[in-house]
């Protein structure tokens, strides 16, 4: 068997093992459950409110949007933070010291982040379907759309997340990603229809993947009529595919270069230097 196939298989295996570990660890379990519970509670409180110009529950409209947000969060934030943490603690250097280890490592992170994102989506989607009768996932078309929106969404966000993770010097700088993320979420029509925002903010939000992931998820779960309150009064599947595809291509071109540059700098002494720095902060 070719060494690359072996490494890919080892990477899949590693991703699977680490996904399993994430269910038995208090910290990661909290990471799955806490945002889910908070979002569900928020949506229950928003249940009575109506989407402007309709009789549709704002809470029910928010649920699919947050699914899109979850996919974006997994790809951008989880990927970036895992990379910075594992670069600091030397996991990445171990991969580098192993034949085809970096390749296997990347496969494992894609597997892990996809798995984590999938679990987070399910955790939100299943109770959501019970909470809001108006949401439906009962056609093959809806399932297919869900599948491609998730898939393209992950491909669009994970490489970009990996680029961010490579550029951050240490995990304590994750705020540099979190703050703009929060700003984007606020302007991307996740918790309130984007059409309520000024035009220029709408334009900005439509450059980034979060809005399109929210829109794609709404197209899956909301009744067809709700397309009327979106920009262009349509679900704009083609545009969704184009924008997310654009991010995917940009990320896939950029990520290997940035990752390679980052990996090249890793050595025993660079890990030791970071350890020293991190220890000084602790004591």
């Amino acid at each position: 068997m070719s060494p690359l196939v072996v490494a890919a298989r080892a990477g899949l295996n590693r991703g699977r093992i680490e996904l399993r570990q994430s269910f038995t660890n208090a910290e990661t379990l909290w990471g799955y459950l806490f945002p889910t519970v908070v979002l569900l509670v928020v949506m229950v409180f928003m249940r009575g409110a109506k989407v402007p110009g309709t009789e549709f529950s704002l809470g029910a409209q928010t649920l699919p949007s947050t699914l899109g947000m979850t996919v974006a969060f997994g790809g951008l934030v989880s990927m970036a933070s895992i990379l910075t943490v594992e670069r600091e603690d030397g996991t990445l250097l171990r991969a580098k010291a192993t034949p085809n280890g970096m390749f296997g490592y990347l496969i494992s992170k894609i597997t892990l982040v996809s798995g984590m994102t999938f679990v987070s989506v399910v955790l939100l989607l299943v109770p959501g379907l019970f909470l809001f009768d108006v949401l439906a996932l009962d056609t093959v078309g809806a399932w297919l759309t869900l599948a491609w929106v998730m898939l393209v969404g992950m491909v669009a966000t994970m490489p970009v997340g990996a680029v961010f993770g490579s550029l951050l010097s240490n995990p304590r700088n994750m705020g540099l990603i979190m703050l703009p993320m929060m700003g984007l979420i606020a302007t991307s029509g996740i918790f309130y229809p984007i059409t309520a925002l000024p035009g220029w903010l709408q334009a900005v939000a439509q450059v980034f993947p979060i809005y399109w992931l929210g829109l794609g998820m709404r197209s899956v779960l909301l009744p067809e009529a709700m397309a009327a309150v979106e920009i262009g009064e349509s679900w704009r599947h083609l545009e969704t595919l184009l924008v997310l595809g654009g991010w995917a291509v940009a990320g896939l071109v950029l990520a290997p270069m940035v990752l390679r540059r980052m990996a090249r700098r890793e050595s025993g002494s660079s890990v030791a230097a970071r350890r020293e720095k991190a220890m000084q902060r602790v004591t």
Partner: protein, 323 residues
């Protein structure tokens, strides 16, 4: 050998390995900005040899080992590890090396057996007729003495046990060359002793070339067949601990008192000097003491001088006796 740049001809890269030379370093130079860290390091190592790169902190040991590991680019000189320039080593070359890294908190959720089996699986395609890769997980766990802890999570292990995991990871691919950078830094004496035993066991099992760095002479003496003393960016002395001692002990210090006054004299011919002393002053001589400078004394002087920024003195002491 004219393997400076560009194309490696098969003959020129194959010949060193044929003679059993696994590491070949010639005039290795490294410069960071305007600071020269290595100013011409040269040494070779043969299959099965254990080499210790000994020197004070900041002497360039880590830089040297990282260049050989292929983790750092050099500024100049020729380096081959297993017949290949580390700067151009491919994954097959990588599979023949082992690097013992200092773990910190990586893989803390992994179980020992699980982690070793996982990392070992990458080496399977690189098995050869002579060396079957990777090391069998159970056997490896036994070799490093972790049988009782094989199902524990790495994060639950003690510091000494984690270092065993580090060693196990370093050798899981049955390397032909193994690198250890400051392997016992931060160890208590018991853990250090255990670790030394482990390294001795490794050298007995496989015909692995081991290059380790240390700033501790005692450790170098215990582990290495050959010690390379690195100071001021180059190797100022090399040889077995015995050979180095013999070279150094050429100089001795004679102390005595005469009429209540204490005297100290440094000489290379202590016996002759003392004979002369007695011939001249006879019974006036008291408190006679002849002390040969040990390897340790000379090395400690070197470290002290190096750390206070005056590397030349002790370096010269080594050089003079080395000639």
């Amino acid at each position: 050998m004219a393997v400076t740049a560009g194309v490696d001809t098969p003959t020129s890269t194959a010949s060193p390995t044929d003679r059993g030379v696994t590491l070949d370093v010639r005039d290795l130079r490294m410069r960071y900005g305007s600071t020269d860290v290595l100013t011409g390091v040269s040494f070779t190592a043969r299959r099965g040899e254990v080499l210790a790169l000994l020197g004070p902190n900041g002497a360039g040991k880590t830089t040297t080992i990282e260049i050989l590991e292929g983790f750092r680019m050099r500024s100049g000189g020729e380096v081959t590890v297993l017949g290949t320039d580390p700067a151009r080593g491919d994954e097959r070359w990588r599979s023949r090396l082992g690097v013992v890294l200092q773990s910190w908190r990586d893989h803390s959720r992994w179980r020992v057996r699980e982690l070793l089996a996982h990392l070992g699986s990458f080496y399977a395609p690189y098995s050869t007729d002579r060396i079957s890769r990777p090391w069998d997980t159970e056997e490896l766990i036994q070799v490093v003495g972790l049988t009782q802890h094989a199902d524990k999570k790495v994060g639950q292990l003690s510091g000494g046990q984690r270092r065993r995991v580090d060693v196990a990871i370093g050798i899981v691919g049955r390397p032909e060359v193994l690198f250890l950078d400051e392997p016992t830094a931060g160890f208590d004496p018991a853990a250090r002793r255990e670790f030394h035993d482990l390294v001795h066991r490794l050298t007995d099992i496989d015909d692995t070339t081991i290059l380790l760095t240390t700033h501790d002479l005692d450790e170098a003496e215990k582990l290495a067949d050959r010690i390379l003393i690195l100071a001021g960016g180059r190797i100022i002395a090399s040889g077995s601990a015995d050979e180095l001692s013999r070279r150094i002990s050429a100089d001795a210090e004679v102390r005595w008192s005469q009429g209540g006054t204490r005297f100290v004299h440094s000489t290379s011919d202590a016996t002759g000097f003392v004979r002369e002393l007695f011939a001249q002053h006879g019974e006036d001589i008291a408190d006679l003491e002849v002390r040969r400078a040990s390897l340790e004394d000379t090395y400690m002087t070197l470290v002290r001088d190096h750390e206070s920024g005056r590397a030349d003195g002790a370096t010269r002491a080594f050089e003079e006796v080395g000639r």
